[in-house]
Symmetry: C2
Subunit: 347 residues, 2 copies
Amino acid sequence: MTVQESGAEPKAAGMKDVAAAAGVSLGTVSNVLNRPDRVSPATRAKVETVMAELRFVRNESARQLRAGRSRVLAYVMLDGSNPFFTDVAAGMEDAADAAGEGDLSLFLCNSAHQPAREAAYLGRLEQQRVQGILITPVDPDAALLGEIAHRGTPVVIVDRTPGGTSHCSVAVDDVYGGEIAVRHLIEQGHDRIAFIGNHTTVGQVRDRRLGALRALRAAGLAPDRLVDLTTTALTVADGRGAGERLAGLPASIRPTAAFCANDLVALGLLQTCANLRMNVPQDMAIVGYDDIEFAAAAAVPLTSVRQPRRRLGRTAVELLLAESEPGHEHRQVVFTPELVVRASTLR
Amino acid sequence: MTVQESGAEPKAAGMKDVAAAAGVSLGTVSNVLNRPDRVSPATRAKVETVMAELRFVRNESARQLRAGRSRVLAYVMLDGSNPFFTDVAAGMEDAADAAGEGDLSLFLCNSAHQPAREAAYLGRLEQQRVQGILITPVDPDAALLGEIAHRGTPVVIVDRTPGGTSHCSVAVDDVYGGEIAVRHLIEQGHDRIAFIGNHTTVGQVRDRRLGALRALRAAGLAPDRLVDLTTTALTVADGRGAGERLAGLPASIRPTAAFCANDLVALGLLQTCANLRMNVPQDMAIVGYDDIEFAAAAAVPLTSVRQPRRRLGRTAVELLLAESEPGHEHRQVVFTPELVVRASTLR
DNA sequence: CCTCCGGATTGAAAGGTTTCACAAATCTGG
DNA sequence: CCAGATTTGTGAAACCTTTCAATCCGGAGG
């Protein structure tokens, strides 16, 4: 266009410009920003006025470069479309707000189960020198996490207990969760129970299944009373598919109850049951896992294993912030889940 | 456990160290990073080896400070716990991945309907000099957004059409959405319809209600055939509460159908109906809005107004990236929603 | 044998902030 | 009214990259 057309774009004022316009030194402007108490009320007011006039916006890159510390935390979540993880994130936000006094931001990154995306985010975050990384990893034992931590960016693993004790972590006792879920089904009179999930690929699911087996054993039932319906992922669609397979089994061997690896799967199963006119819980009792909000809101409210989601998030942030303290030792916190009984299992 | 045990921290290698160790100049190291083709294969290999050995991690702050450009986009979402927004975000991630060739990251920020939190995130993002901001604002006409855009950070408004044309935006025609929802209910024989939502505080909800009124008018029904049940927010709990109020109305004036401002509310209503033994759709037909995945998965699958969620996200990113092109003009893209009819309205 | 050329490499400046040792101004109280 | 303490303010260095003009070098062309 023309010379400077519409804007005249004054080319973004920096602290230097503010200093000049306010008739003080650069250092004083910095003090106004970082140690307001070290500067007299009069000059402070003057500088702040000028900042407003000049629409000064502090350059965080420069700040961080010089100061060395960052003011952002990041949570790399496994699945942004699963309400469980957004609830965990909400807990983190609360903790960050509380701890940071407005000086700490939490950014969310969604790996969506893709290792490549996860790695890309981790790389970027490390380059950014964020204050810390919270992550529910695709593979908790991947070497990358250890390397990052070793190079100095604190890492806390969320909802997974890693093999070693090389990180802080927060998790929930999934074996116990599986156990109470299936124990409840057994108490309701079921002795042939479907397990729906992808226990071969996901650590937590493996644990939940282990707990299920333990409950069977405790009740004196043979392990083959647990009927595996393996899914590829843990979505509503997977649950629907498993429901169809389940319904297709001959009545003689068809389980009368199902323990689903998470609530999404359980909701899918529930939907298939409704379509096929199977009554829940009379024809099919269902237990989910996570107790997401939609579990209670289902038309047949879902019995589910509740995890302290927000607490998980809050604790994770607290552990992360504690990492920078002097004599820090990694801690693995494990919460205990509880069974929330609703209509989907009560005849 | 070995040589440098816990302390010793070799103090993170910078490009200078890499240059020294590789026996080349600083500039060459930079070239390896930024213009690999400008450097001979031999030296390039050498430098890359050294980088790996020294565990060099590029300092993004310094890079950005000097280079001036950032490689991150951010989406400030209104409600991370509403699957609608996480789906929009997923669309954005796809578009960012596609456009950036691995060089563009999308960070998510959750304002959770809190203006203060939104403002804090916006401030931080602007200071960070991010490449652009996508936002579903609490208040789309807040001055802050205009200021940020004016100061040079591109802003795209998502799922809201702002008053003026001072931003790019993507949205869905909510008036039309409300209209087709209620037209459908009227076609199903209903002539007294509840509207459940907080239309006084949220722009989209206002529009959806307007559409509802328009449908009534078109059918020759008086506007008072729309019965307002106003909620404070749009959560499942709000839907439950509204359901109880609805059930408490005398049968003579109780609506036989409800149009809910979003699916969360509809699911809450559905749940209350189940509790109170009201059959859906016989005693109460329900239409939701957004067509989130859980809408189809409800035990009575929900009729809902579908918005092209991922498309919304993708388009938003495309608009954002286009902002930096030479003669850019702001565009407001409006998509048309469609009605997805399911069991909750079909008798 | 000399010049010129282009690809590879170099060196130094620049980018906006924080920090820190220090100077100036003001205050304390003897 | 002065020594010393305290409060304010200053100036320059440092943080780690990117960028760009300048240099270097081996070889092609004359």
